[in-house]
Amino acid sequence: MTARIGVVTFPGTLDDRDASRAVRLAGAEAVELFHADADLKDVDAVVLPGGFSYGDYLRAGAISRFAPIMDKVVDAANGGMPVLGICNGFQVLTEVHLLPGSMIKNEHLHFICRDQTLRVENAETSWTTEYQDGEEIVIPLKNQDGQYVADDYTLDQLEAEGRVAFRYVGWNPNGSRRDIAGITNERGNVVGLMPHPEHAVEAGFGPDSRESGRMGTDGLAFFTSAIKGLLATA
């Protein structure tokens, strides 16, 4: 069996091609999904990629969440399907209330583009089982509306339930509360993060590693984690 992972394209999505490429490099079939179709095409998992859907008008992700495909994504996520939201996809997941909190403009207002170190805080989600708890990874980060905010009650709850999936290490690039880079839902099947694992999946095209330039592939395990989980339950 080959796992089928859907990648959603909204108007203004930028990283759908890279996300599909990451899915294929990890060993699954990438299935194109379109925002206007209320059809998940029998996929086993869904990636909401980065970009500026609807030009970030109103708020990032605010209009995309009402796209016909999102009703299906929400139903599937509530049924346990692995869903990964990257950057703008993370913003869509918070707007549609699959994940708590929200993203506001970076504290310093600058657009940031850099190779970012993260610590994997929860290696038991559908998208992180191929990592170790506490493992540090380097993947690209690029955003302007990346400051994760939530009220203290929600933040305490996330911490207590181990739902902070990733934390920024070394430098908090956007002022996110408690250095949070990504979170998961109670069940662990829905994960959202601001940095971009799909840009760090092939040697020669990834972030700089300690050993040599452009060789970082730390993002690939997001996708191999999901695939392994899907094949185990198939």
Binding site: A62, E95, S102, K105, E107, H108, V149
Partner: protein, 104 residues
């Protein structure tokens, strides 16, 4: 025809980076004495026909559902301006009758 204004502001406890940046720029330009700036959004919704309670309830629902995100923002005002104007005091976006009256 009437215009309904909806004002949305970041919640008081949410840091407002844009307002902060504007606040920092003001004294640099010689505008002293302003201790804080918070930046929100103003929506002008034009509706055909009477603004009934039902229409207003519908707009309030839209304001809570799409125009604002309750996690980070509050809808601070929903206000009806009749006869095509928006009561803004005239900032050159197609002044209606009410707006002209205000300017007069």
């Amino acid at each position: 025809m009437a215009t309904i204004l909806v004002h949305v502001m970041p919640k008081p406890e949410i840091l407002d980076p844009q307002g902060k940046a504007v606040g920092a720029a003001l004294p640099r330009l010689g505008f002293d004495g302003i201790s804080q700036v918070r930046q929100g959004k103003r929506f002008e919704l034009t509706v055909d026909g009477e603004v009934t309670d039902e229409v207003l309830a519908n707009v309030r629902k839209a304001a809570e559902t799409l125009l604002s995100n309750p996690v980070i923002e509050d809808v601070v005002q929903v206000k009806v301006v009749r006869e095509g104007g928006c009561g803004c005091g005239g900032h050159g976006h197609g002044a209606g009758k009410a707006e002209k009256d205000l300017l007069a």
